[in-house]
Protein backbone atom coordinates (compact mmCIF):
# COMPACT_ATOMS: atom_id res chain seq x y z
CA UNK A 1 0.00 0.00 0.00
CA UNK A 2 1.66 3.23 -1.10
CA UNK A 3 1.74 5.82 1.60
CA UNK A 4 0.81 8.89 -0.31
CA UNK A 5 2.23 12.36 0.02
CA UNK A 6 3.88 13.78 3.10
CA UNK A 7 4.28 17.42 3.96
CA UNK A 8 6.96 18.35 6.49
CA UNK A 9 5.33 21.05 8.58
CA UNK A 10 7.58 23.91 9.61
CA UNK A 11 6.70 25.46 12.92
CA UNK A 12 8.45 28.11 14.91
CA UNK A 13 7.53 28.28 18.60
CA UNK A 14 4.31 26.42 17.92
CA UNK A 15 3.26 28.58 15.01
CA UNK A 16 2.88 26.88 11.63
CA UNK A 17 4.52 28.66 8.68
CA UNK A 18 2.10 29.74 5.98
CA UNK A 19 4.01 27.82 3.30
CA UNK A 20 3.35 24.59 5.21
CA UNK A 21 -0.39 25.22 5.02
CA UNK A 22 -0.03 26.02 1.31
CA UNK A 23 1.60 22.62 0.87
CA UNK A 24 -1.02 20.77 2.92
CA UNK A 25 -3.71 22.44 0.80
CA UNK A 26 -2.09 21.63 -2.56
CA UNK A 27 -0.67 18.29 -1.40
CA UNK A 28 -4.20 17.18 -0.54
CA UNK A 29 -5.24 17.84 -4.15
CA UNK A 30 -2.32 15.81 -5.50
CA UNK A 31 -3.00 12.98 -3.03
CA UNK A 32 -6.69 12.95 -3.93
CA UNK A 33 -5.78 12.73 -7.63
CA UNK A 34 -3.64 9.72 -6.79
CA UNK A 35 -6.27 8.19 -4.49
CA UNK A 36 -3.80 8.30 -1.63
CA UNK A 37 -3.67 9.99 1.79
CA UNK A 38 -1.97 13.28 2.64
CA UNK A 39 0.16 13.06 5.76
CA UNK A 40 1.57 15.99 7.72
CA UNK A 41 4.76 15.40 9.73
CA UNK A 42 5.44 17.77 12.61
CA UNK A 43 8.72 17.83 14.55
CA UNK A 44 9.31 19.93 17.63
CA UNK A 45 8.45 20.23 21.30
CA UNK A 46 4.98 20.91 22.66
CA UNK A 47 3.47 20.66 19.20
CA UNK A 48 0.81 17.93 19.56
CA UNK A 49 -1.89 20.61 19.47
CA UNK A 50 -0.97 21.48 15.89
CA UNK A 51 -2.42 18.19 14.61
CA UNK A 52 -5.97 19.57 14.61
CA UNK A 53 -4.82 22.64 12.72
CA UNK A 54 -3.22 20.71 9.86
CA UNK A 55 -6.21 18.34 9.81
CA UNK A 56 -8.51 21.31 9.29
CA UNK A 57 -6.52 22.20 6.15
CA UNK A 58 -6.87 18.71 4.72
CA UNK A 59 -4.28 16.36 6.25
CA UNK A 60 -5.65 12.79 6.49
CA UNK A 61 -2.90 11.64 8.81
CA UNK A 62 -0.55 13.45 11.16
CA UNK A 63 2.76 12.14 12.48
CA UNK A 64 3.98 13.94 15.58
CA UNK A 65 7.59 13.62 16.72
CA UNK A 66 8.28 15.43 19.98
CA UNK A 67 11.60 15.72 21.75
CA UNK A 68 13.57 18.30 23.71
CA UNK A 69 16.28 18.01 21.06
CA UNK A 70 13.81 19.04 18.36
CA UNK A 71 12.71 22.25 20.07
CA UNK A 72 15.20 24.30 18.05
CA UNK A 73 15.80 23.27 14.46
CA UNK A 74 19.22 21.77 13.85
CA UNK A 75 20.26 20.16 10.58
CA UNK A 76 21.55 16.95 12.15
CA UNK A 77 18.70 16.10 14.51
CA UNK A 78 15.96 16.89 11.98
CA UNK A 79 17.74 14.91 9.24
CA UNK A 80 18.16 11.97 11.58
CA UNK A 81 14.50 11.87 12.61
CA UNK A 82 12.99 12.53 9.18
CA UNK A 83 15.23 9.97 7.48
CA UNK A 84 13.94 7.29 9.83
CA UNK A 85 10.24 8.16 9.79
CA UNK A 86 10.33 8.46 5.99
CA UNK A 87 12.04 5.09 5.59
CA UNK A 88 9.51 3.51 7.95
CA UNK A 89 6.48 5.21 6.39
CA UNK A 90 7.62 4.82 2.77
CA UNK A 91 5.77 7.77 1.22
CA UNK A 92 5.75 8.37 -2.52
CA UNK A 93 6.52 12.07 -2.17
CA UNK A 94 7.73 14.44 0.54
CA UNK A 95 7.20 18.20 0.22
CA UNK A 96 8.88 20.93 2.25
CA UNK A 97 8.75 24.73 2.09
CA UNK A 98 11.71 26.38 0.38
CA UNK A 99 12.46 28.38 3.52
CA UNK A 100 15.71 28.89 5.43
CA UNK A 101 15.03 25.61 7.23
CA UNK A 102 13.78 23.76 4.14
CA UNK A 103 16.83 24.79 2.12
CA UNK A 104 19.18 23.71 4.92
CA UNK A 105 17.46 20.41 5.60
CA UNK A 106 16.26 19.03 2.27
CA UNK A 107 19.62 18.49 0.49
CA UNK A 108 21.04 16.67 3.49
CA UNK A 109 17.91 14.55 3.85
CA UNK A 110 17.87 13.79 0.11
CA UNK A 111 21.46 12.57 0.15
CA UNK A 112 20.83 10.38 3.19
CA UNK A 113 17.75 8.90 1.55
CA UNK A 114 19.73 8.50 -1.66
CA UNK A 115 17.15 10.36 -3.73
CA UNK A 116 16.88 13.42 -5.96
CA UNK A 117 15.47 16.74 -4.87
CA UNK A 118 13.65 19.42 -6.83
CA UNK A 119 14.56 22.72 -5.13
CA UNK A 120 12.62 25.96 -5.08
CA UNK A 121 9.76 24.49 -7.07
CA UNK A 122 7.24 26.98 -8.48
CA UNK A 123 4.90 24.47 -10.08
CA UNK A 124 4.03 20.80 -9.83
CA UNK A 125 1.63 18.40 -11.44
CA UNK A 126 0.79 14.73 -11.02
CA UNK A 127 2.70 12.53 -13.43
CA UNK A 128 2.06 8.88 -14.24
CA UNK A 129 5.65 7.89 -14.88
CA UNK A 130 7.41 9.81 -12.11
CA UNK A 131 4.58 10.48 -9.64
CA UNK A 132 5.03 14.26 -9.76
CA UNK A 133 6.58 16.55 -12.33
CA UNK A 134 8.06 19.84 -11.20
CA UNK A 135 8.76 23.20 -12.72
CA UNK A 136 11.56 25.17 -11.13
CA UNK A 137 13.42 28.36 -11.95
CA UNK A 138 17.03 28.28 -13.12
CA UNK A 139 19.22 31.36 -13.53
CA UNK A 140 16.97 32.93 -10.87
CA UNK A 141 13.92 32.69 -13.09
CA UNK A 142 15.47 33.76 -16.37
CA UNK A 143 14.51 30.22 -17.46
CA UNK A 144 12.53 27.29 -16.11
CA UNK A 145 13.37 23.60 -15.97
CA UNK A 146 10.81 20.81 -16.05
CA UNK A 147 12.21 18.17 -13.69
CA UNK A 148 11.34 14.61 -12.74
CA UNK A 149 12.97 12.48 -10.05
CA UNK A 150 13.72 8.82 -10.58
CA UNK A 151 13.52 7.41 -7.06
CA UNK A 152 10.91 7.34 -4.29
CA UNK A 153 10.21 9.30 -2.30
CA UNK A 154 10.05 12.18 -4.70
CA UNK A 155 11.41 15.12 -2.69
CA UNK A 156 10.79 18.81 -3.31
CA UNK A 157 11.09 22.18 -1.61
CA UNK A 158 8.33 24.49 -2.82
CA UNK A 159 8.64 28.26 -2.99
CA UNK A 160 6.35 30.14 -0.57
CA UNK A 161 3.32 31.81 -2.20
CA UNK A 162 3.21 29.23 -5.01
CA UNK A 163 -0.10 27.80 -3.82
CA UNK A 164 -3.12 29.20 -2.03
CA UNK A 165 -4.09 28.12 1.47
CA UNK A 166 -7.40 26.22 1.55
CA UNK A 167 -10.29 27.33 3.76
CA UNK A 168 -9.85 25.47 7.05
CA UNK A 169 -12.68 23.18 8.17
CA UNK A 170 -12.53 22.50 11.91
CA UNK A 171 -14.80 19.48 11.55
CA UNK A 172 -12.10 17.61 9.59
CA UNK A 173 -10.10 15.24 11.76
CA UNK A 174 -6.93 13.32 11.03
CA UNK A 175 -5.56 10.02 12.21
CA UNK A 176 -2.77 11.09 14.57
CA UNK A 177 0.23 8.95 15.44
CA UNK A 178 3.12 9.80 17.72
CA UNK A 179 6.63 8.60 16.96
CA UNK A 180 9.62 8.58 19.27
CA UNK A 181 12.50 10.76 18.17
CA UNK A 182 15.33 8.38 17.36
CA UNK A 183 18.30 10.69 16.86
CA UNK A 184 21.69 9.19 16.09
CA UNK A 185 24.36 10.49 18.46
CA UNK A 186 26.49 11.37 15.43
CA UNK A 187 23.77 13.76 14.30
CA UNK A 188 23.74 15.76 17.52
CA UNK A 189 26.59 18.15 16.82
CA UNK A 190 25.10 21.61 16.67
CA UNK A 191 24.08 23.65 19.68
CA UNK A 192 21.80 26.60 19.03
CA UNK A 193 23.11 29.34 21.31
CA UNK A 194 20.88 32.22 20.35
CA UNK A 195 17.99 33.01 18.02
CA UNK A 196 17.39 36.64 17.15
CA UNK A 197 14.17 37.42 15.35
CA UNK A 198 14.22 41.02 14.21
CA UNK A 199 11.34 42.87 15.82
CA UNK A 200 9.13 43.68 12.89
CA UNK A 201 5.41 43.94 12.51
CA UNK A 202 5.84 43.41 8.76
CA UNK A 203 5.56 40.05 7.01
CA UNK A 204 8.62 38.03 6.06
CA UNK A 205 9.83 39.08 2.60
CA UNK A 206 9.49 35.74 0.82
CA UNK A 207 6.05 35.05 2.29
CA UNK A 208 4.57 38.51 1.89
CA UNK A 209 1.50 39.04 -0.31
CA UNK A 210 2.59 42.58 -1.04
CA UNK A 211 6.13 43.96 -1.28
CA UNK A 212 7.14 47.59 -1.73
CA UNK A 213 10.79 47.93 -2.77
CA UNK A 214 13.16 50.83 -3.14
CA UNK A 215 16.15 51.26 -5.42
CA UNK A 216 18.93 53.68 -6.18
CA UNK A 217 16.52 56.62 -6.41
CA UNK A 218 15.77 56.29 -2.68
CA UNK A 219 18.94 58.40 -2.28
CA UNK A 220 19.58 57.44 1.33
CA UNK A 221 18.66 55.18 4.26
CA UNK A 222 16.38 57.72 5.92
CA UNK A 223 14.01 57.72 2.94
CA UNK A 224 12.99 54.10 3.37
CA UNK A 225 10.58 55.46 5.99
CA UNK A 226 8.40 56.56 3.07
CA UNK A 227 8.12 52.94 1.92
CA UNK A 228 7.67 51.64 5.47
CA UNK A 229 4.77 54.01 6.06
CA UNK A 230 3.09 52.76 2.90
CA UNK A 231 3.89 49.12 3.74
CA UNK A 232 2.25 49.41 7.14
CA UNK A 233 -1.00 50.66 5.65
CA UNK A 234 -1.36 47.73 3.24
CA UNK A 235 0.35 45.00 5.28
CA UNK A 236 3.35 44.82 2.97
CA UNK A 237 6.97 43.82 3.43
CA UNK A 238 9.72 46.26 2.44
CA UNK A 239 12.35 45.16 -0.07
CA UNK A 240 15.25 46.74 -1.91
CA UNK A 241 17.35 46.49 -5.03
CA UNK A 242 21.00 45.55 -4.95
CA UNK A 243 21.93 49.19 -5.59
CA UNK A 244 20.21 50.27 -2.36
CA UNK A 245 21.74 47.39 -0.37
CA UNK A 246 25.26 47.90 -1.69
CA UNK A 247 24.97 51.61 -0.87
CA UNK A 248 24.46 50.54 2.73
CA UNK A 249 20.98 52.07 3.00
CA UNK A 250 19.19 48.88 4.04
CA UNK A 251 20.22 45.47 5.32
CA UNK A 252 21.18 42.79 2.83
CA UNK A 253 18.36 40.49 3.96
CA UNK A 254 15.91 42.82 2.24
CA UNK A 255 17.58 42.49 -1.17
CA UNK A 256 15.37 41.18 -3.96
CA UNK A 257 17.09 39.78 -7.04
CA UNK A 258 19.42 37.15 -8.44
CA UNK A 259 21.90 37.53 -5.58
CA UNK A 260 19.22 38.26 -2.99
CA UNK A 261 15.76 36.89 -2.29
CA UNK A 262 13.56 35.59 -5.06
CA UNK A 263 9.98 36.61 -4.31
CA UNK A 264 6.61 35.96 -5.83
CA UNK A 265 4.04 38.21 -4.15
CA UNK A 266 0.57 39.09 -5.37
CA UNK A 267 1.62 42.73 -5.69
CA UNK A 268 5.16 44.09 -6.13
CA UNK A 269 5.62 47.86 -6.05
CA UNK A 270 9.04 48.92 -7.38
CA UNK A 271 9.95 52.47 -6.38
CA UNK A 272 12.92 54.12 -8.03
CA UNK A 273 14.16 50.79 -9.35
CA UNK A 274 15.49 50.84 -12.91
CA UNK A 275 14.79 47.17 -13.57
CA UNK A 276 18.20 45.56 -14.08
CA UNK A 277 18.00 41.98 -15.35
CA UNK A 278 19.23 40.68 -11.97
CA UNK A 279 16.39 42.46 -10.17
CA UNK A 280 13.74 41.30 -12.62
CA UNK A 281 14.94 37.74 -12.10
CA UNK A 282 14.08 38.08 -8.41
CA UNK A 283 10.52 39.37 -8.76
CA UNK A 284 9.41 38.51 -12.30
CA UNK A 285 6.84 35.95 -11.13
CA UNK A 286 4.92 38.52 -9.06
CA UNK A 287 1.25 38.50 -10.03
CA UNK A 288 0.94 42.28 -10.42
CA UNK A 289 3.93 44.59 -10.80
CA UNK A 290 3.76 48.34 -10.22
CA UNK A 291 6.62 50.66 -11.13
CA UNK A 292 7.09 54.21 -9.92
CA UNK A 293 10.02 55.88 -11.61
CA UNK A 294 10.98 59.34 -12.84
CA UNK A 295 12.61 57.89 -15.95
CA UNK A 296 9.84 57.07 -18.43
CA UNK A 297 12.29 54.84 -20.32
CA UNK A 298 13.30 52.75 -17.29
CA UNK A 299 13.35 49.04 -18.09
CA UNK A 300 11.06 48.29 -15.14
CA UNK A 301 8.14 49.76 -17.12
CA UNK A 302 8.54 46.97 -19.68
CA UNK A 303 7.39 44.40 -17.12
CA UNK A 304 5.06 46.55 -15.02
CA UNK A 305 1.30 46.03 -15.20
CA UNK A 306 0.88 49.56 -13.89
CA UNK A 307 3.41 52.33 -13.96
CA UNK A 308 3.59 55.90 -12.77
CA UNK A 309 6.11 58.16 -14.42
CA UNK A 310 6.96 60.45 -11.54
CA UNK A 311 9.13 61.13 -8.54
CA UNK A 312 8.66 58.49 -5.87
CA UNK A 313 9.11 61.16 -3.18
CA UNK A 314 5.94 62.84 -4.47
CA UNK A 315 3.97 59.78 -5.52
CA UNK A 316 4.49 57.27 -2.71
CA UNK A 317 3.24 59.44 0.19
CA UNK A 318 0.16 60.32 -1.89
CA UNK A 319 -0.37 56.66 -2.71
CA UNK A 320 -0.13 55.85 0.99
CA UNK A 321 -2.89 58.36 1.67
CA UNK A 322 -5.06 56.80 -1.05
CA UNK A 323 -4.50 53.32 0.44
CA UNK A 324 -5.47 54.64 3.89
CA UNK A 325 -8.88 55.56 2.50
CA UNK A 326 -9.36 52.00 1.24
CA UNK A 327 -8.19 49.70 4.00
Amino acid sequence: MPNGIWVVIEQVKGEIRKVSLELVSKGKEFAAAKGEPLTAVILGKGIAGLADTVASYGADKVIIVEDDKLEDYTTGAYTSVLNKVIKAGDPNAVLLGNTAIGKDLAPRLAQRLGVGLASDVTGAEVDDANYLKFSRPVYAGKAYASVVLTDKPVLATVRPNTYAVAEPDASKKAEVSTETADIDAADIKAIVKEVIIAASSRPELVEANIIISGGRAMKGPENFKILEDCADVIGAAVGASRAAVDSGWIEQKFQVGQTGKVVSPTLYIACGISGAIQHLAGMGTSKVIVAINKDADANIFNVADYGIVGDLFDVVPLLTEEFKKMV
Binding site: T74, T75, A100, K103, D104, P107, R108, A110, Q111, R112, G114, G116, L117, A118, S119, K133, V138, Y139, A140, G141, K142, A143, Y144, A145, S146, V147, V148, L149, T150, A190, V192, K193, V195, I196, S200, I234, Q252, K253, L267, Q278, G284, T285, I289, V290, A296, F301, A304, D305, Y306, G307, I308, V309, G310, V315, L318, E321, E322, F323, M326, V327
Partner: protein, 255 residues
Protein backbone atom coordinates in the same frame (compact mmCIF):
# COMPACT_ATOMS: atom_id res chain seq x y z
CA UNK B 1 43.82 24.22 12.14
CA UNK B 2 45.43 22.99 8.96
CA UNK B 3 43.64 23.09 5.65
CA UNK B 4 40.50 24.82 4.45
CA UNK B 5 38.81 23.53 1.33
CA UNK B 6 36.60 25.88 -0.65
CA UNK B 7 34.21 24.35 -3.17
CA UNK B 8 33.50 26.65 -6.09
CA UNK B 9 31.52 26.56 -9.31
CA UNK B 10 31.96 28.42 -12.55
CA UNK B 11 28.69 30.03 -13.63
CA UNK B 12 27.26 32.50 -16.13
CA UNK B 13 27.73 36.13 -15.16
CA UNK B 14 24.59 37.67 -13.64
CA UNK B 15 24.30 39.96 -16.67
CA UNK B 16 23.80 36.93 -18.92
CA UNK B 17 20.66 36.83 -21.01
CA UNK B 18 19.46 33.24 -21.11
CA UNK B 19 18.63 31.63 -24.45
CA UNK B 20 17.64 28.06 -25.20
CA UNK B 21 19.20 26.28 -28.15
CA UNK B 22 18.62 22.64 -29.06
CA UNK B 23 16.78 22.01 -25.79
CA UNK B 24 19.70 23.28 -23.73
CA UNK B 25 20.65 26.56 -22.11
CA UNK B 26 22.96 28.22 -24.62
CA UNK B 27 26.39 29.35 -23.45
CA UNK B 28 27.01 31.36 -26.63
CA UNK B 29 28.62 34.69 -25.85
CA UNK B 30 28.16 34.26 -22.12
CA UNK B 31 30.85 35.49 -19.74
CA UNK B 32 31.82 32.88 -17.15
CA UNK B 33 32.66 33.89 -13.60
CA UNK B 34 33.19 32.41 -10.16
CA UNK B 35 29.74 31.95 -8.62
CA UNK B 36 29.26 35.18 -6.60
CA UNK B 37 28.33 33.34 -3.41
CA UNK B 38 31.50 31.22 -3.68
CA UNK B 39 33.54 34.43 -3.60
CA UNK B 40 32.34 34.96 -0.03
CA UNK B 41 33.54 31.45 0.82
CA UNK B 42 36.96 32.06 -0.77
CA UNK B 43 37.33 35.39 1.02
CA UNK B 44 36.43 33.87 4.38
CA UNK B 45 39.00 31.10 3.95
CA UNK B 46 41.69 33.64 3.03
CA UNK B 47 40.83 35.82 6.03
CA UNK B 48 41.11 32.84 8.38
CA UNK B 49 44.47 31.88 6.88
CA UNK B 50 45.79 35.46 7.06
CA UNK B 51 44.79 35.64 10.73
CA UNK B 52 46.93 32.56 11.35
CA UNK B 53 43.95 30.23 11.60
CA UNK B 54 44.90 27.92 8.72
CA UNK B 55 48.00 26.80 6.85
CA UNK B 56 46.56 26.26 3.41
CA UNK B 57 43.48 27.04 1.31
CA UNK B 58 42.58 24.51 -1.38
CA UNK B 59 40.03 25.26 -4.09
CA UNK B 60 37.97 22.36 -5.44
CA UNK B 61 35.72 22.66 -8.46
CA UNK B 62 33.66 20.00 -10.20
CA UNK B 63 33.12 21.29 -13.70
CA UNK B 64 33.80 21.28 -17.40
CA UNK B 65 36.84 22.23 -19.40
CA UNK B 66 36.64 25.95 -18.58
CA UNK B 67 36.40 25.47 -14.81
CA UNK B 68 40.19 25.98 -14.35
CA UNK B 69 39.63 29.67 -15.23
CA UNK B 70 37.46 29.99 -12.13
CA UNK B 71 40.00 28.10 -10.03
CA UNK B 72 42.79 30.42 -11.27
CA UNK B 73 40.69 33.41 -10.22
CA UNK B 74 40.43 31.97 -6.71
CA UNK B 75 44.19 31.27 -6.71
CA UNK B 76 44.75 34.87 -7.82
CA UNK B 77 42.72 36.05 -4.84
CA UNK B 78 45.23 34.19 -2.68
CA UNK B 79 44.25 30.52 -2.39
CA UNK B 80 47.19 28.11 -2.41
CA UNK B 81 46.25 25.31 -4.75
CA UNK B 82 43.41 23.96 -6.82
CA UNK B 83 41.77 20.69 -7.72
CA UNK B 84 39.65 20.44 -10.86
CA UNK B 85 37.38 17.45 -11.21
CA UNK B 86 36.98 17.45 -14.97
CA UNK B 87 33.54 16.09 -15.74
CA UNK B 88 33.47 17.11 -19.42
CA UNK B 89 33.29 13.44 -20.34
CA UNK B 90 30.20 12.80 -18.23
CA UNK B 91 27.59 14.95 -19.94
CA UNK B 92 24.85 16.24 -17.68
CA UNK B 93 25.10 15.25 -14.03
CA UNK B 94 22.66 16.05 -11.24
CA UNK B 95 23.21 17.26 -7.69
CA UNK B 96 23.38 13.73 -6.27
CA UNK B 97 26.21 12.74 -8.59
CA UNK B 98 27.99 16.11 -8.34
CA UNK B 99 28.01 15.79 -4.55
CA UNK B 100 29.64 12.37 -4.73
CA UNK B 101 32.42 13.73 -6.95
CA UNK B 102 32.86 16.85 -4.85
CA UNK B 103 33.07 14.85 -1.61
CA UNK B 104 35.58 12.39 -3.06
CA UNK B 105 37.70 15.27 -4.38
CA UNK B 106 37.62 17.08 -1.03
CA UNK B 107 38.68 13.87 0.68
CA UNK B 108 41.88 13.75 -1.41
CA UNK B 109 43.32 16.48 0.82
CA UNK B 110 43.34 16.90 4.60
CA UNK B 111 40.67 19.36 5.68
CA UNK B 112 39.41 20.91 8.88
CA UNK B 113 36.84 23.18 7.32
CA UNK B 114 34.91 23.17 4.04
CA UNK B 115 33.32 26.35 2.72
CA UNK B 116 31.07 26.95 -0.30
CA UNK B 117 28.52 29.48 -1.52
CA UNK B 118 24.96 29.01 -0.30
CA UNK B 119 23.60 28.77 -3.84
CA UNK B 120 24.97 28.64 -7.37
CA UNK B 121 23.23 31.26 -9.42
CA UNK B 122 22.88 28.99 -12.45
CA UNK B 123 20.81 25.97 -11.46
CA UNK B 124 19.96 27.62 -8.15
CA UNK B 125 19.38 24.38 -6.34
CA UNK B 126 21.46 24.99 -3.16
CA UNK B 127 22.16 21.29 -2.85
CA UNK B 128 25.60 20.06 -3.85
CA UNK B 129 27.74 21.40 -0.99
CA UNK B 130 25.31 20.26 1.71
CA UNK B 131 24.93 16.85 0.06
CA UNK B 132 28.74 16.58 -0.04
CA UNK B 133 28.85 17.20 3.72
CA UNK B 134 26.48 14.27 4.15
CA UNK B 135 28.71 12.08 1.97
CA UNK B 136 31.76 13.15 4.01
CA UNK B 137 29.89 12.55 7.26
CA UNK B 138 30.54 16.04 8.62
CA UNK B 139 27.95 18.49 9.98
CA UNK B 140 26.77 21.38 7.84
CA UNK B 141 25.18 24.77 8.40
CA UNK B 142 23.93 26.76 5.45
CA UNK B 143 23.71 30.48 4.74
CA UNK B 144 26.19 31.76 7.32
CA UNK B 145 26.79 35.47 7.98
CA UNK B 146 29.59 35.16 10.56
CA UNK B 147 32.23 32.56 11.35
CA UNK B 148 34.56 32.33 14.34
CA UNK B 149 36.77 29.36 15.08
CA UNK B 150 38.31 28.65 18.47
CA UNK B 151 40.16 25.38 18.80
CA UNK B 152 37.94 22.64 17.43
CA UNK B 153 34.69 24.60 17.74
CA UNK B 154 33.15 26.90 15.18
CA UNK B 155 30.59 29.54 16.13
CA UNK B 156 28.48 30.60 13.18
CA UNK B 157 25.63 33.02 12.69
CA UNK B 158 23.21 31.85 10.07
CA UNK B 159 20.39 33.62 8.32
CA UNK B 160 16.95 32.32 9.21
CA UNK B 161 13.62 33.66 8.04
CA UNK B 162 13.08 36.90 9.93
CA UNK B 163 16.39 36.95 11.77
CA UNK B 164 19.60 35.15 12.61
CA UNK B 165 20.67 32.33 14.86
CA UNK B 166 24.00 31.53 16.43
CA UNK B 167 25.18 27.94 16.39
CA UNK B 168 28.16 26.20 17.97
CA UNK B 169 29.42 23.21 16.08
CA UNK B 170 32.57 21.08 16.13
CA UNK B 171 34.88 21.07 13.11
CA UNK B 172 35.50 19.58 10.63
CA UNK B 173 32.26 20.97 9.28
CA UNK B 174 30.91 22.47 6.06
CA UNK B 175 29.38 25.94 5.93
CA UNK B 176 27.75 27.71 3.02
CA UNK B 177 28.26 31.45 2.73
CA UNK B 178 25.55 34.08 2.43
CA UNK B 179 26.10 37.59 1.15
CA UNK B 180 27.10 39.72 4.14
CA UNK B 181 29.73 37.29 5.45
CA UNK B 182 32.50 39.56 4.13
CA UNK B 183 33.54 41.74 1.21
CA UNK B 184 35.41 39.58 -1.31
CA UNK B 185 38.69 41.04 -2.54
CA UNK B 186 39.53 41.46 -6.20
CA UNK B 187 42.57 39.58 -7.49
CA UNK B 188 45.61 41.88 -7.66
CA UNK B 189 48.00 41.95 -10.65
CA UNK B 190 50.59 40.30 -8.44
CA UNK B 191 48.04 37.70 -7.41
CA UNK B 192 47.18 36.93 -11.03
CA UNK B 193 50.88 36.46 -11.85
CA UNK B 194 51.44 34.20 -8.86
CA UNK B 195 48.31 32.17 -9.62
CA UNK B 196 49.77 30.99 -12.91
CA UNK B 197 52.48 29.11 -11.05
CA UNK B 198 50.27 27.60 -8.37
CA UNK B 199 49.52 23.90 -8.30
CA UNK B 200 46.30 22.91 -10.11
CA UNK B 201 45.58 19.19 -10.07
CA UNK B 202 43.17 17.74 -12.60
CA UNK B 203 41.25 14.64 -11.59
CA UNK B 204 39.14 12.57 -13.95
CA UNK B 205 35.98 10.71 -12.95
CA UNK B 206 38.01 7.50 -13.16
CA UNK B 207 40.52 8.87 -10.64
CA UNK B 208 37.78 9.27 -8.05
CA UNK B 209 35.95 6.02 -8.59
CA UNK B 210 32.48 7.38 -8.02
CA UNK B 211 29.65 4.93 -8.52
CA UNK B 212 26.54 7.06 -8.72
CA UNK B 213 23.77 7.57 -11.22
CA UNK B 214 21.60 10.66 -11.52
CA UNK B 215 18.40 10.78 -9.49
CA UNK B 216 16.84 13.62 -11.40
CA UNK B 217 16.27 14.46 -15.05
CA UNK B 218 15.54 17.77 -16.69
CA UNK B 219 12.88 17.06 -19.32
CA UNK B 220 13.03 20.48 -20.89
CA UNK B 221 13.98 24.10 -20.41
CA UNK B 222 11.66 26.93 -21.22
CA UNK B 223 11.74 30.69 -21.05
CA UNK B 224 9.22 32.43 -18.81
CA UNK B 225 6.33 34.05 -20.64
CA UNK B 226 7.35 37.60 -21.46
CA UNK B 227 5.51 40.17 -19.40
CA UNK B 228 3.85 42.84 -21.42
CA UNK B 229 4.11 46.46 -20.43
CA UNK B 230 0.81 47.60 -18.94
CA UNK B 231 -0.75 50.95 -18.24
CA UNK B 232 1.63 53.85 -17.79
CA UNK B 233 0.16 56.79 -15.90
CA UNK B 234 1.55 60.28 -16.35
CA UNK B 235 0.50 63.64 -15.01
CA UNK B 236 0.18 65.28 -11.60
CA UNK B 237 1.41 63.06 -8.77
CA UNK B 238 -1.87 63.35 -6.85
CA UNK B 239 -3.92 62.29 -9.86
CA UNK B 240 -1.71 59.36 -10.80
CA UNK B 241 -1.55 58.13 -7.21
CA UNK B 242 -5.33 58.23 -6.92
CA UNK B 243 -5.78 56.46 -10.24
CA UNK B 244 -3.21 53.78 -9.41
CA UNK B 245 -4.84 53.04 -6.04
CA UNK B 246 -8.22 52.74 -7.79
CA UNK B 247 -6.81 50.40 -10.47
CA UNK B 248 -5.12 48.20 -7.89
CA UNK B 249 -8.33 47.89 -5.95
CA UNK B 250 -10.94 47.66 -8.69
CA UNK B 251 -9.14 46.21 -11.71
CA UNK B 252 -6.26 44.16 -10.31
CA UNK B 253 -8.10 43.48 -7.02
CA UNK B 254 -4.87 43.24 -5.04
CA UNK B 255 -5.46 45.90 -2.36
Amino acid sequence: MGNIVVAIKQVFDTEAVIAISGGKISDQGVKLVVNPFDEFAIEEALKIKEAGGADEVTIVSVGGEKAPEAIRTALAMGADKGIHVDISSLGVIDEFVAAEYLAKAIATVPYDLVLAGRIAIDDGSSQVAVRAAEVLGIPSVSSILKLDIAGSTATVSREIDGGTETIEIPIPALFTAQKGLNEPRLPSMMGIMKAKKKDLTVLTPADLGVDATAKSNVLEYSLPPARAAGKKLTGEAADTAAELAKLLREEAKVI
